[in-house]
C-alpha cells in the first residue's frame, strides 16, 4: 500500500474515531502546555535579569579601569590602547558604550530632602539613546538630554526627594581627591526599576560627571561592548585581555566573581585594567536561576512520567478496543506494515493536534499569569518586567520540548502499535 493511502486511511480513522483519542490528546496537551509554560517563564525570567544587568552595567563584555588612589573611582585614560585591542577581536562589537561611575557617595538634594545614590552613572546620551528610551518611565522620558544638564532618576529616589520632572536637583559628589563638588541638574525622566541591581541610582551626562569628579572630559570608567549575535563572551574576553596585556597594566584573567573580588582587594599604584563579562557580574543570579531550573526540571520529569503512563495505558486500551477491527483489516488483505503505518499515522495526528492544543493552552496560562503581579513575593521583582512575569519563547526551547515529548510518547505509541500489527489473524478476530 502506498504511503499516501496509509496517511489517508489514518486521517479517516482518526476523524471517525476521534472520541477514543480525547483523553489521550488531553494528557499529551496538558503535558506539553505545562512544559512549555515552565520553560518559557524560566527563559523570560533569565532574560529579564540579563537585560536589567545589561542596562545596569552597560554592555556584555567590559574593560574597566580602577585607580586605587582615587578610592571608589574608576578610570581609563589610554583610550587608544583599549580601542586598538577591541579592533583586534575576532568578532567586532555592534556598539560600544563608555561610562563614568561614581560609586556609593553621591547624594541628590531637593527641597531639603536627600537621597544617597549607590551609583551615579555618567553616560553618553546619544550612544545609549535606544537603551534609555526602553526604560519604564513613570514620568518624563529620555528626550531633550543633549544639553548635558539633565538627569534621570528612579521612582523611589524621586519619592524620597519629593521631586518631579522639571525640578532642579543638586548632585553632590567628591572629586578624585575627595573634595566636595556639586552640580545642578534638571530631572528629565523618572523610571521604574525593580531589578536586583538596586534603584538608588541616577544617570547624568558623562562629561558633566567627569567635570564634577575633576577628571578629564574624555575619561571613562568602563567600556561596554554589545554584540548583536550570540558570541562566546569568555573567548572574546580572553582575546581582549591578551591584547590589552601587551600595552596596559592588567589584572589576572578573570573567569569568576570570586577572582574579581580577590583582585580588587590587592594593592596597586595607578590604573589597573580588568576585562569582565556580563555573565561574571550576574553569576550569582545565574546560580539562583540554575537552582530554580533544577526544581523545574524535577517537575518536568514528574510530569513527563505522568504523561508517559497516561499515554501508555490509554493507547493500549485504544488498541485493545480495536483488535477486532485490526483483524478485519488483516482479513481484507492489509499487510502488517500497512496496519503499523496506519496506526503510527493516527499517533502522529494525535501528537500534532496535542501540540497545537498544548501550545494554545500554554499561551492561555501565560496570559492569565501575566495579568497578576507577583510583587508580593519578596525578591521576586528582579525576574519581572513592569511588575509582570513575561515568557520568552526561543526556538531551541520549543524544539527541545517537542523532542523531549517525542522521546517520551513515541515508545508508548509505537510498542502497542507494533504489537497490534503483529497479532495473529485468528487471535485478532477471535477477540
Amino acid at each position: 500500500m502506498k504511503t499516501v493511502n496509509r496517511v489517508k486511511l489514518a486521517v479517516r480513522y482518526f476523524s471517525g474515531h476521534y472520541r477514543r483519542y480525547i483523553f489521550l490528546i488531553l494528557a499529551v496537551s496538558f503535558g506539553f502546555a505545562i512544559i512549555t509554560t515552565m520553560t518559557s517563564l524560566a527563559a523570560g525570567m533569565y532574560d529579564n535579569v540579563y537585560r536589567a544587568a545589561q542596562q545596569h552595567y552597560g554592555g556584555q563584555l567590559f574593560v574597566l579601569g580602577f585607580h586605587k588612589q582615587y578610592g571608589h573611582l574608576g578610570l581609563i585614560r589610554d583610550d587608544q590602547a583599549v580601542m586598538d585591542a577591541v579592533r583586534k577581536l575576532d568578532v567586532q562589537p555592534d556598539r560600544m558604550v563608555k561610562r563614568t561611575l561614581f560609586f556609593a557617595d553621591g547624594i541628590l538634594y531637593f527641597a531639603g530632602n536627600s537621597s544617597r545614590q549607590k551609583n551615579v552613572y555618567g553616560v553618553d546620551w546619544d550612544v545609549e539613546a535606544d537603551d534609555f528610551a526602553k526604560l519604564d518611565y513613570s514620568e518624563g522620558g529620555s528626550a531633550n538630554l543633549s544639553d548635558g544638564k539633565g538627569i534621570i532618576i528612579s521612582e523611589p529616589v524621586a519619592e524620597q526627594l519629593g521631586a518631579r520632572v522639571g525640578d532642579d536637583v543638586v548632585l553632590k559628589v567628591r572629586t578624585k581627591t575627595g573634595q566636595n563638588n556639586t552640580g545642578t541638574f534638571v530631572i528629565k525622566g523618572i523610571f521604574r526599576d525593580e531589578s536586583i541591581f538596586g534603584y538608588y541610582k541616577c544617570y547624568v551626562d558623562r562629561r558633566e560627571l567627569n567635570n564634577l569628579l575633576a577628571f578629564e572630559e574624555e575619561d571613562y570608567f568602563s567600556l561596554g561592548l554589545y554584540f548583536n549575535n550570540a558570541v562566546d563572551a569568555s573567548e572574546l574576553s580572553f582575546q581582549l585581555h591578551s591584547e590589552l596585556e601587551k600595552k596596559l597594566p592588567m589584572s589576572s584573567f578573570i573567569t569568576r566573581k570570586e577572582e574579581y573580588t580577590f583582585e580588587q582587594g590587592m594593592h596597586w599604584e595607578g590604573i589597573r585594567h580588568f576585562v569582565m563579562t556580563l555573565e561574571i557580574f550576574v553569576s550569582q543570579v545565574s546560580e539562583l536561576l540554575t537552582a530554580m531550573n533544577l526544581v523545574s526540571y524535577f517537575l518536568y520529569i514528574m510530569i513527563s512520567l505522568i504523561v508517559l503512563v497516561s499515554v501508555s495505558v490509554t493507547y493500549r486500551l485504544i488498541i485493545h478496543e480495536r483488535t477486532a477491527e485490526i483483524g478485519t483489516m488483516r482479513s481484507m488483505g492489509f499487510q502488517r506494515g500497512d496496519i503499523l503505518g496506519i496506526l503510527l499515522g493516527e499517533a502522529l495526528l494525535v501528537f500534532a493536534v496535542s501540540l497545537v492544543i498544548g501550545a494554545l493552552l500554554s499561551l492561555l496560562v501565560l496570559w492569565i499569569i501575566s495579568l497578576f503581579s507577583f510583587s508580593f513575593i519578596p525578591g521576586f521583582e528582579i525576574f519581572m518586567t513592569k511588575g509582570r512575569l513575561l515568557p520568552l519563547f526561543t526556538i531551541s526551547d520549543i524544539l527541545s520540548n517537542i523532542g523531549l515529548l517525542i522521546i517520551i510518547i513515541f515508545p508508548a505509541l509505537l510498542i502497542p502499535s507494533f504489537r497490534a500489527s503483529r497479532l495473529e489473524l485468528t487471535k485478532a478476530l477471535g477477540d
Binding site: G112, K172, R174, G178, N180, T182
Partner: protein
Amino acid sequence: MKKSLILTIFITLLSTLYAVDFHELLLKADALASYTESDFSAEYTIVHDKPGEGRDTTVAAIFRRDKIEQYVIIILEPDINRGQGYLKLEDTLWFYDPEGRRFNYSSSKDRFQNSNARNSDFTRSTLADDYIVRSGERVKLGNYDCWLLELEANNDEVTYPIMKIWISDDNLVRKTEDYSLSNQLLRTTAIPSYQKVGIRYIPALIYYFDALEGAVIDGKFVSEKTVISIKKTSFRDIPGNVFTKNFLERSAQ
C-alpha cells in the same frame, strides 16, 4: 586732575602701609583653636535637629593631642551607640563598633554620627596651612567687628575647597561658610560664644546649618542643624594609652 591722582596714590600707599596680613590672621585664628602645647579633653553634647523629624542627642568624650594630630572620641549616649569610638592616628581614622567588635576605616570627611558635623571638625584648625586668602573686608557680624575672608584651598585634598570665614578682632573664628568646588554653599558654622580656660579659648557652642538638607515648612526652607555644646574641658595631660585601639575596646566593655 592732578590733585585726584595724588590722593589716589596717597590712599594706596596708606592702605599698603596698614594692610592686614591675612595669612597672619589665619595663623592666629588657628592658634586659638589648636592646643599644641598640651592635651585637651572635654565632653561634647551634640544635638542634631532634623526639621519635621525631631532631635537626637549624642554625648561624647573627646581626647585630643593636637601636637601630633591624634584624637579619640568615645560615644557615651545614646545607649544604643554607647561604646562606639573614633581613633585618629596619623592619616588614618578608625571607627570602632562594639557590636561587631571590629575596627573599620572611616574618613575625616564623613559626617560625625550622622550629624552635620564632620569628623574633621574635632581636630585642630589648619586654615593657614590649607587655604590662601583671596580677599578680605571689614564687616559687622552681630556685635562683632570682623574680617570676612574668602579662602581658597591651596591643595586638592581639603573637604571644602572654598570657604568664607568671619574672624573677630580678638582673632576668634565666629562664623564660616563652606562651599563646594562649584561654589555651592554646603554648610554654615556659627560659634557665638567661647569659654576662656586659662589663656586658651574653647567654643562654648557651635552651630552647624546644612545648606542642602532640611525641610520646607510653611513654604520656607528650614535647615537641618546640629548644636554642639562643650563642657568639662581640661588641658591636663592624657595618658598615652588613651590613643590606642585597646583603649577603645576597653572603654566599650
